[in-house]
Every structure is written in C-alpha cells, then in structure tokens.
Amino acid sequence: MRTKDLVATAISNTFRSKLRTTLTVLAIFVGAFTLTLTNAVGAGVSQYVDAQVGALGAPDVFIITQASDATTAGDGPVKYNAGSSASVSSQQGPPGTTTKALTDTDLTKIADTAGIVSVDPIRSVQPDYIEYGTGTQYEFSINATSAVTTADLTAGAQLDGSASEAQLVLPDTFVTPLGFASADDAVGASVSIGITDILGEQHTVNATIVGVSLESLLAAGAGANDALIAELADAQSGGIETAVTSYGVAVAHFDKALSADAVTALKADLATEGYTANTIEDQLGAVQTVINGIVGVLNAFAVIALIAAAFGIINTLLMSVQERTREIGLMKAMGMSGGKVYTLFSLEAIVIGFLGSAIGAGVAIGLGSALSAVLSQGLLSGLPGLNILLFEPTSVAFVILLVMLIAFLSGTLPAQRAAKQNPIESLRYE
C-alpha cells in the first residue's frame, strides 16, 4: 500500500464513526487548548519581564553586597569589632534578614580583586519633588540602581553614565502632569529637582530629561545618571562631610572581555572574600525561575488533561479494532502486511491527535488574542507593555507535535493488536 493511500485511508476511517471521533477529539482539544494558553502566558510574562528588568542592564556589572551574616539563631550575639562590624544594615536584603553594609575598606578590597575594573557604591538620594518651569511640584523618587540598568524607553535615549551633565529618565506617568504635550516633547527639557539637606534646608538641582520610560514593575522611580546622583547627594549632605562610609550595595564593573566561566570564577573569588556578587542576569534569572515554575505547574495540569485524553484515544481505537476485525482480517488475507496494518491504525491515532490539537491551538489563539486585548485595556492596563498571552509559532507547533506524539503512543497498543490479528480467526463466520 502506498503511503499516500495509507494516509487517505486513515483519514477516511477516522471519520467513519463520527460521534466517537468527535468525542475523542474534544478530549484532546481541552488538553491542547490549555497547553497552548499556559505556554502563551509563560511566553507573554517572560517577554514582559525581559523588557522590564532585563531590557538587559549592563552585562558587565556586578551588584555586590556583603555575604549574608553568619549570625544565626543559637550562636549568640557577635562581639563588636570596630574594623569589621559595619555600622548599619542596609535595606537591600530580603525581609527578615540583615545584610551588613559595605565600608570603604570593602570597596578598596573589591576594587583590588583581579578582573574588577571599577567599583562604585550605590548612594540613595531622597529628592522631595520635581518641577518643570514654574508648574506644579510633584513628589518624586529616584531609582538608585538606574545607572546600571537599561530603561524600557518610549522616547529619547538611555542615560549616559560618563556624561558630566546631569541626566534624567522620566517615568511616562509624569509627562502630562508636568505639562509636556508628549513624551517626545519632554526629551531635552530641563527640570528642577528639589531636595532637602540634613540641616533641613531645601536645594534645587537642575537636570536634563534624556528619555521617557515605561513604568517598570521592578525599578520604581526615575533614572538618574552618576553625575545627577552625585550632585543630589552633595546637595543632600548640605556640604558637610557626614562621614557616611557605609553602603548597602555597590556596583562593580568587570572586564567586558571576560568569558562566562571567568565571570563565575570572579564571583567565586569575591565570595571567598565575603561578598555576594550578582550580575543583572542572575537577578533576572531568579524572577524567570519563579515564572517558569508557575508556568511549569500550569503546563503539568494541561499534560494531565492530555494523558486523560490519551486513554480516550486508546479506548476509541480499541473499539475500532474490535469493530473492524473482519476488515483487518480481509486486508491481511489479501496480502496486507502486519506492518502496514500497524501503520494504518497509528496514522488514525495521529489524525485524531492532529485534529484535536490543531483545533485546540487554533481556538486558544483566537480566544486568547481577544482576551489579551481586552485585559490589556482593562484589568492589566496598569502594566503597560504587558501582553499577557504571547503565541509563539514555535511553541504552538511544539504543542501540536507533542499531542500528535502522545496520540501516536496511545495508538501503539490498539495498532499492535490489529497488526497481530490472525486473518483466519478474524474471518470466522460465527
């Protein structure tokens, strides 16, 4: 039998018992529909996170903190040591833990580590307001790590870390209130930022808007380059050397030419000296891992639905083999080989699998796209740039192929039964 004839026969056989085929296809439909949707959620959220945090911050940057304190319950209090016990704990650690701060000594030590090009402490500044011209003043905050991340821009350019000019990336929610006609209009404008020093006196610092960013989940506030942060910090200190020599976090640039292995080695070096070094990618990885975990659980449910559907396929085909005993016997008597009979029934299983998965994926894409559009206008409008369901052609194709594979495997048992049938037994009259 030619392959073409086998496929055509399999397809026409599938439609011979319409109700039974329809019900089996429905079962597969549910699984394929769910799997397509969960995959799309995973892809959509991942893409959003990539754009948000990732937008791939500088790839040659470590975020460095002191390694988590060894103080654990039961060890008792640690003796004070003026050299090593840093004065403050920072707010950078996870809730419930304390992270020792970095001192200038630490910074020097980090800077001296082979492979580190430069190290800068992150200085947090608390501006009071932002104002454009003589308009209304709005409360305002600056994201301390903005100098090392890349903003999700709607207009303008990224911050220039080496520029001596004070630069600002404005969140797009500020554009209209500050009196700009559009995001593009805001780019290039000079705004003044108010800040109160430690003596209670208010100062104003001018900055140029170089870009407008979408509000981000993971980095709230405006972006400021090193020059602006320095200027604000100076204003904040009120010209007094406050001797603040401890920082929660430092940013270290390492040699761009380092390989991934060398970066890992460098991290290990820093770890032995008592520092935790993370690249932006590492931090991103943590978020991605959580999302992948959630999507994985959802996928598992979809796969369970598919396994249930697989039993449906087995049942359908076994009934079909039973019903068509005579036909199979006749075909074998007429010289059809067991292998061809096996192929025929496997193809029927695959056809059922393809029908269910193609319809399931198709409906999921249709419904999902509509739902995604509605959600991004309504419930999820607070998260601009989030496309909750992202249908990637490769993952849809993967779902269809996976279901066809499951269908093929389910068809194995019935197909084997059909292939092994003895033509004489099948053709008995009783």
């Binding site: 030619r2 006749l330 010289g335 009259y429």
Partner: protein, 256 residues
C-alpha cells in the same frame, strides 16, 4: 512456466489447542491442484475442509507436511513473499461478503490493488473493467450496504478477480444465497475458469456445486475419504490443462 504453477500439498497436518481440548483438524492430507482445473473440497462442517483451504491459500501454516507453490516450498518463502503471493496470485470469496460498509462498491472491489500499491487512476480503471464484466458498472458509486445479496456476492467476486489471480479460493460461495442467485454466482465462477483459465478451489457441502467441478475431494474427520473426477464435461482433471488456451494464460499471467 504456467503449467508448472501447481499447488502440491503432501501429508498436511494441523491441530488446534492442546491437552484435552486438542483438536486435530487435519491428519495428513495430500492434494495437488493443477493450473486451470476446478476442484471441490467437500465435507460436513468440522470435517477440516476450511482448514485445508486456509493451508492451501497460505493463510495458515501446517504443523506437519509440505506445501509447494509453483515448485517453491512455502516454508522457505518470506512473510513478504507470502503476502505478495496472496495479493497477486490468489483471489478470495467467502460465504459472508466482508464488504466494507459505507465505502463505495468500486472502492471495495479495488482494495487488493490498493494493498498492492497500484496508482489511483490505474486501479479505478481496472476496477471499472471488472465491474462491467460483472454487470455492476452502474452500481460503482453506490455504498456496498445498499446492494442485494446476489449483487454483494458479485462485488465479492469482482474483488477476488480484480488482481487477475491464477487461483480463486471460494469458501461456501453460495452458502448465503438463495438457489437462483447462487446459480448465477456459480455460473460466473465457472465462466471465469473457462474464459480466463483461473483455477477454482471451492469449499462446499453442496453436492450439486461440487458435481460441477472437474474433481472432488471428500474430507471427513481430517482425512481424505474419496476422490472423484467428473466426466460430465468429458474431461478428466488431467485434461483440464487442454482447456487453458494460450490467450487465457497470458491474461492470467498479467497479474505479475
């Protein structure tokens, strides 16, 4: 070559089951079938006549004994070769029709050609030829289930005939039909033997049908109890070869 196309069975034995439930269907049967002859295997139900036909048609393997087809030992043939043999050289007619319901008459008839891997156009052409020969051309597009019993059996004969076989094995071909329709079906089978030289092996318990064949083998309890040769055609079974004209042979040989 065609004159050598003999099915030669020696001492066939076949049993089913084991122990107390062991049933010896055949206890040593030898039979030779010459090209172009018509042979009736006659016996009551349970006599082993169907088992003998299954062995002769290579649908089953004997426990003991040898079977040679065209000079080759069936045991030495590969599975694939046996399938090919059944597909190209044999045609089957059963008491029950075994037509695929909800499939057209033409598609039922061309099933062996489809299994053989013949192209779509070619096999439809050949299928229509056979249906015309059996005066069923106008039913080609009908579903098999809509036909009468006699028409169905003619479709079955068409299916057995479509691959231009050398031998047609018929197991109770008229058992399911009324006398008049049965007679028509018999006429068609014997006409095929006469005009195309197709060897007929008919399993039956119907004495009248058996008498129309050149030769009869009577089977009881797994053994051949007697053999007779009809003289009504004025031919013995050895003389049957003479009936096969060279033209008829080339038609039959077209199955290659």
């Amino acid at each position: 070559m065609d004159s050598q196309w003999v099915i030669d069975a020696q001492g066939l034995e076949k049993s089913y089951g084991s122990g107390a439930s062991r049933f010896d269907a055949l206890k040593g049967v030898s039979v030779q079938i010459a090209p172009g002859e018509t042979l009736a295997i006659v016996g009551k139900s349970g006599s082993g006549k169907s088992t003998l036909m299954h062995l002769l048609a290579l649908l089953d393997e004997p426990d003991e004994g040898t079977l040679q087809v065209a000079g080759r030992d069936a045991k030495s043939l590969s599975k694939c070769a046996v399938n090919g043999l059944r597909n190209k050289e044999f045609g089957f007619v059963f008491q029950q029709f075994f037509l695929t319901p909800n499939v057209s008459v033409l598609d039922n008839v061309i099933l062996p050609l489809k299994i053989a891997g013949m192209g779509g156009k070619e096999r439809r052409k050949r299928g229509m030829e056979v249906l015309e020969q059996l005066e069923l051309a106008d039913k080609a597009g009908n579903k098999a289930t809509t036909l009468s019993g006699g028409q169905k059996q003619r479709v079955v004969i068409g299916r057995a005939l479509v691959n231009a076989p050398r031998v047609i094995f018929a197991d109770e071909p008229t058992g399911n039909l009324d006398t008049a329709t049965g007679a028509v079906v018999e006429d068609i089978l014997f006409e095929l033997n006469r005009s195309q030289g197709i060897t007929l092996v008919i399993v039956t318990h119907d004495e009248d049908l058996a008498a129309r064949c050149d030769r009869q083998i009577y089977i009881r309890d797994g053994l051949v109890v007697s053999q007779t040769t009809s003289t009504h055609t004025g031919l013995t079974h050895t003389g049957a070869h003479a009936l096969v004209t060279p033209e008829a042979l080339s038609t039959a040989g077209g199955a290659e």
